[in-house]
C-alpha cells in the first residue's frame, strides 16, 4: 500500500487554478524529486499534504488514513494526527530566531510531551551530530550560515520521528557553495531509507538521489518516472523543453 496516495487534487486561488487534478503515489522509502517551472503548483501540492494549504477537491490518504476524502477534511484532531506523520523543511528555514539551535529542536517535542525530557535531549544531540552541528547547539540562528540553518531545520523536522519528510525547495535560498552541505544531509537520509518528497531545482539531486522524478507544469503532473528514463528519454514536449533549459 502506498504511504501517500493523492487522487485528483484540485486547488484554485480565486480564478487561478493552481492544481488541476493531481494524482500520484509515494511508496515507503521513495525519494521523489518534484521539478518544474515556478508557478507550476509544486509547492502548493507539497504544502497541501501538511495542511498548510486547504484544497478544493480530491483525496489524500497518508499511511492509510484520509487527510482529505473527496474534498472533505476530518476533524482538526484527526488532521493533526495525520499531518504529524510528516516533517517539513522550508525554503526559508523558518527557524525560531529567539531560540537557540538546541531549543529549536526541543521546543515541539517538549511541548507535545512526545518523550521524557532526557530522551528529547539525547535525541537532539544525536541529530545535531548527524547533521554535523553538534558544536552549534547553543548558537542562535542569527549566527549560522544558510546551509547550517537548513541543516538545523532538517534536524528539527526529524525530532518528531516523521515517516515522511517533505522539502520545499530546501536549497533555493542558499548561496551556491552552501547547497552541497544540505544536499549531503538529504542524501544521507535517502540512504537510510527515509521517505522523502523534495520540491527542487537541483537536477543533480533529482538524477542521483531520487528514485522517481515528477515533472509538474501549469498545475498538472506532466510526466513522472525513474530518473534515468526521465532525463535521458523524456516523452512530453514540455518536459523536453524544460530539461533543455535547465540542464547544461
Amino acid at each position: 500500500m502506498a504511504l501517500i496516495d493523492v487522487q485528483n487534487l484540485k486547488k484554485s486561488f480565486g480564478p487561478l487554478e493552481v492544481l488541476k487534478d493531481i494524482s500520484f503515489q509515494v511508496n515507503k522509502n521513495d525519494v521523489i524529486a518534484v521539478i518544474g517551472p515556478s508557478g507550476s503548483g509544486k509547492s502548493t501540492m507539497l504544502r497541501s499534504l501538511v495542511n498548510l494549504e486547504t484544497i478544493d477537491g480530491g483525496t489524500v490518504k497518508i499511511d492509510g488514513e484520509y487527510l482529505i476524502e473527496q474534498g472533505k477534511y476530518p476533524s482538526t484532531q484527526q488532521i493533526k494526527t495525520i499531518t504529524g506523520k510528516m516533517g517539513m523543511v522550508f525554503q526559508h528555514f523558518n527557524l525560531f530566531p529567539h531560540l537557540s539551535v538546541r531549543d529549536n529542536l526541543e521546543v515541539a517535542p517538549k511541548m507535545l510531551k512526545t518523550e521524557a525530557p532526557k530522551a528529547i535531549r539525547a535525541r537532539a544531540n544525536d541529530l545535531l551530530q548527524k547533521v554535523g552541528l553538534a558544536d552549534k547547539a547553543d548558537a542562535y540562528p542569527a549566527n549560522l550560515s544558510g546551509g547550517q540553518k537548513q541543516r538545523v531545520a532538517i534536524a528539527r523536522a526529524l525530532m518528531l520521528n516523521p515517516q515522511i519528510l517533505l522539502f520545499d525547495e530546501p536549497t533555493s535560498a542558499l548561496d551556491p557553495e552552501l547547497t552541497g552541505e544540505v544536499l549531503k544531509v538529504m542524501k544521507d537520509l535517502a540512504e537510510e531509507h527515509m521517505t522523502m518528497i523534495v520540491v527542487t531545482h537541483e537536477m543533480g539531486f533529482a538524477k542521483e538521489v531520487a528514485n522517481k522524478v515528477m515533472f509538474m507544469a501549469d498545475g498538472e503532473v506532466v510526466e513522472a518516472g525513474e530518473p534515468k528514463t526521465f532525463f535521458e528519454n523524456p516523452q512530453h514536449p514540455r518536459t523536453q523543453d524544460f530539461l533543455r533549459k535547465n540542464l547544461k
Binding site: L52, N94, H98, L112, N143, A157
Partner: protein, 217 residues
C-alpha cells in the same frame, strides 16, 4: 548651600511623585495595551471594533484633555458625577494608563505584523496548537521586536508626567515652578531638567540592557 537644599528637597519629593506615576502607568498600561492588541485581532468583531475605536479616540485626542476630563469633567456629570470624584493622583494614573495602553497596543500590533508567516507555518507543522504557538513562538518575538519602540514610548511617558502640573498634582515640575515663583530664579527649572535627564538616562540604560539581554545572537 542651604538655599539650594531648600530648593532641591521639595523637588526631589516631586521627582518621587513623577517616578511613582511613571512606574504605575508603565506597569499597568503595557499589559492593558497587550490585551487591546489581542482584542483588535480578535475574530469576534464587536470586540475588535470596540478596541479599534478605543485606540482611535485615545490617540486622537490630547492626553491633557483626557486628564482634564477625568479630573474635572467627570464630577460635573449630572447625577453620577458625585461618585466620580477621584483622588487627583489616582485620576491622573487612570488617565495615563488608559492613554498609554492605546499606544502600546499599536506598538505590539506592529510587532506582530513584523513576524514572518513562516513562523506560524513551522509551528503548525511541528504540531504546536494555537496557544502554544502564540505563547512560545510568537509573543517572545513580538516583545523583542517591540522593545525599541516600547523604550521610546517610555521616555515620552516620563516627560508626559509633567502634564500633572495642569491638574495640580504636586510632581517635579510643580515644585520647580513654585520655587521659581518664590525665589525668582531660573535655577529650579534647570534642576528639574537635570532630574528629568537622570530619570530618562536610567530608563534608557535599562532598556539598552534589555535589548542586549534579548538579542538572540
Amino acid at each position: 548651600m542651604e538655599d539650594f537644599m531648600s530648593m532641591l528637597l521639595p523637588m526631589l519629593e516631586g521627582a518621587k511623585m513623577t517616578v511613582l506615576l511613571f512606574l504605575i502607568a508603565i506597569v499597568l498600561s503595557i499589559p492593558l495595551g497587550f490585551l487591546l492588541t489581542l482584542a483588535v485581532r480578535s475574530s469576534f468583531k464587536p470586540l475588535s471594533w470596540f478596541a479599534q475605536a478605543y485606540i482611535y479616540v485615545m490617540r486622537g485626542t490630547p492626553l491633557l484633555l483626557q486628564l482634564l476630563i477625568i479630573c474635572f469633567g467627570l464630577p460635573m456629570i449630572p447625577v453620577i458625577g458625585e461618585y466620580l470624584v477621584l483622588d487627583r493622583f489616582v485620576a491622573a494614573c487612570l488617565g495615563f494608563v488608559l492613554n498609554y495602553a492605546a499606544y502600546f497596543a499599536e506598538i505590539f500590533r506592529g510587532g506582530l505584523l513584523a513576524i514572518d508567516k513562516g513562523q506560524y507555518e513551522a509551528a503548525q507543522v511541528l504540531g504546536l496548537n494555537k496557544f502554544q504557538t502564540t505563547t512560545r513562538i510568537i509573543l517572545p518575538q513580538m516583545f523583542r521586536i517591540a522593545l525599541p519602540s516600547v523604550a521610546n514610548e517610555s521616555v515620552t511617558l516620563v516627560k508626559d508626567t509633567a502634564l500633572l502640573y495642569a491638574v495640580a498634582v504636586p510632581e517635579l515640575l510643580h515644585y520647580a515652578q513654585t520655587v521659581v515663583n518664590r525665589d525668582f530664579t531660573i535655577v529650579p527649572f534647570l534642576v528639574a531638567a537635570v532630574l528629568y535627564l537622570i530619570i530618562t538616562l536610567v530608563l534608557t540604560a535599562f532598556f539598552k540592557w534589555l535589548e542586549r539581554r534579548f538579542k538572540f545572537e
